[in-house]
């Protein structure tokens, strides 16, 4: 297990993390370190535990063994620690999970106003700034149901960014999208990566992975099988399971 050598402090550290769903051992001895500004892409076959892994990082799932430290705070039984972490870790879901009864603008301001105690005007200015960044400021007054999938996912990204998180987690953000909408979301993510955001992405978009990832992580059956920089990972995978997976996913 080695990660890209960087001089900055780690933002996320996982040490020997284990998790079970009943009898099913979904995460096995996971060790992973994410540094400030690092961009990690996690890939692997479905059911390999990659979504569960990133859901553990912001406490959406509890881990049963091992340590998870985010921004110096350990995720443990102490709910105050969990509360401190979840505002710092943004998350974008496969199904967007926008709030359908609120406008796009209200979706973006709800967190800053209610959780951060920001004033309405300030929160709206912040929301507009991020909506511009994801290229849909003109949709601010609409409801999510009036937008396309790609637009909804960009709103979801803006909503997360409004919390000014230290890390962004992406859980298959383009998997529920029609093909013609994938690019607009990936463009926003590339832009975000270029700006220096620390990112952990679970995705099957290998083109995106090649472009932005500092580190590729390959998971299978609950374990991290291989990690490495993309050039190495795609060019000369060491593990047979990685080779098999890449051959299946890159044939087209």
């Amino acid at each position: 297990m080695q990660s890209v050598p960087t001089s900055t402090a780690p933002v996320i550290e996982l040490h020997g993390v284990n998790k079970w769903f009943g009898e099913f051992h979904v995460l096995k001895d996971i060790d992973l370190t994410v540094h400030q500004g690092e961009r990690i892409v996690v890939c692997g076959p479905s059911g390999s535990g990659k979504s569960t892994l990133i859901r553990c990082i912001n406490g959406l799932e509890e881990h049963e063994a091992g340590r998870i430290v985010v921004g110096g705070i350990e995720l443990d039984q102490n709910s105050r620690h969990v509360d401190a972490i979840r505002g710092e870790v943004g998350m974008v879901f496969q199904q967007f999970n926008l709030f359908p009864h609120l406008t796009v603008l209200e979706n973006c301001t709800l967190g800053p106003i209610r959780s951060r105690g920001m004033g309405r005007r300030e929160a709206e200015a912040l929301a507009m700034q991020y909506l511009e960044r994801v290229h849909i400021p003109e949709q601010a007054q609409k409801h999510p149901g009036q937008l396309s999938g790609g637009q909804q996912q960009r709103v979801a990204i803006a909503r997360s960014l409004c919390m000014k998180p230290r890390v962004m987690l992406f859980d298959e953000p383009t998997s529920a999208l029609d093909p013609e909408m994938i690019k607009e979301v990936l463009d926003v993510m590339v832009d975000l990566a270029t700006s220096g955001m620390t990112m952990v992405c679970v995705t099957h978009e290998m083109g995106f992975a090649r472009t932005v990832a500092d580190t590729m992580v390959f998971m299978d059956a609950g374990s991290i099988i291989e990690t490495g920089p993309p050039a190495e990972f795609f060019g000369a995978p060491r593990n047979d399971r990685t080779k098999l997976f890449l051959s299946q996913i890159l044939t087209h």
Partner: protein, 296 residues
């Protein structure tokens, strides 16, 4: 919006059914007139809406209008209290903790499985002798200024009867809350887990997620059954006549007996309930339209 199915115009069958319905109505009217040999006399009714005060010569509200306002007041406060209670119970029933779930379950099970009349008599005794004195309503009323009293009179009716009125409203609200709780619970349980997770990741507390994300969507989804329940509440407000609260049905009964004009009085009374309930359903339909506006 685009989901609405195209509606067809009337067909031959519709006309047959319509004719049958009209014939049935005509038959009932015929039976009432010829078989019952009922002498219709509406002359006494208008005087029960408004009467001329013999001393001042001014028009004042009489029993039917007084009863109507009392019914509207009971329904108004009943809706507010039972909805608040119902929402709290619904959240209790969907709680992750065992105790709130048990309390909610027991409450709904208790209320739904006994008829309202025994409940009303039993709880009226408890509420009027224990709860209402405990709230200190009498004491507060004694200290109130004339200005406050006139506001209270608009909101709750005759000052001397306020403790009585409160008992009736509480009884009705406790009954209705159980049904509203079940409706709202269905709404809450229809909210996808992703909504909670999204709220969680933007740092909201459990309470904030419930209030800002879950409740508005849950209520929006159950507006039609909720409308039905609120209409039931208005109609069942006539139950509090049993505990001598002088609302519309109670007073209508008195008029019907003293005037011996049963059909006239009850037809008029029924019409008055219809007007309230139908206005309510029109109001709720507007709400429903607004609630669905954001839905695809």
């Amino acid at each position: 919006m685009s989901r609405r199915r195209r509606r067809r115009g009337p067909t031959a069958l519709d006309f047959v059914v319509l004719a049958a319905v009209l014939a049935a109505i005509g038959y009932v009217g015929y039976r009432v007139n010829s078989v019952l040999v009922y002498q219709w006399d509406w002359s006494a009714i208008p005087g029960y809406f408004f009467r001329r005060d013999p001393k001042t010569g001014e028009w004042v509200a009489n029993l039917l209008v007084k009863g109507l306002t009392t019914t509207v007041r009971i329904a108004f406060w009943g809706m507010i209290i039972s909805t608040v209670l119902g929402v709290l119970l619904a959240f209790a029933r969907t709680s992750r903790r065992l105790l709130p779930r048990l309390i909610g379950w027991a409450y709904v099970g208790f209320i739904r499985n006994i008829p309202p009349v025994p409940f009303l008599f039993l709880f009226y005794f408890f509420i009027s002798t224990q709860l209402v004195p405990m709230l200190g309503i009498d004491r507060l009323l004694a200290q109130a200024s004339p200005g406050t009293l006139s506001v209270l009179r608009v909101l709750f009716g005759e000052i001397a009867l306020i403790p009585n009125f409160a008992s009736g409203v509480f009884c009705l609200s406790l009954l209705m809350a159980a049904y509203i709780a079940e409706i709202v619970r269905a709404g809450i349980q229809s909210i996808a887990r992703g909504q909670y997770e999204a709220g969680y990741t933007i740092g909201l507390s459990r309470l904030q997620i419930a209030w800002y994300i879950v409740l508005p969507q849950a209520v929006n989804r159950v507006v039609p059954p909720l409308t039905g329940q609120l209409i039931t509440l208005v109609k069942d407000s006539s139950l509090v006549a049993l505990i001598s609260i002088q609302e519309l049905s109670f007073l209508a009964m008195e008029i019907a007996i003293s005037e011996r004009r049963f059909f006239e009085v009850w037809l008029v009374t029924g019409l008055m309930y219809f007007v309230i309930c139908y206005s309510l359903s029109l109001l709720m339909r507007r709400l429903e339209r607004r609630a669905l506006a954001y839905d695809r």
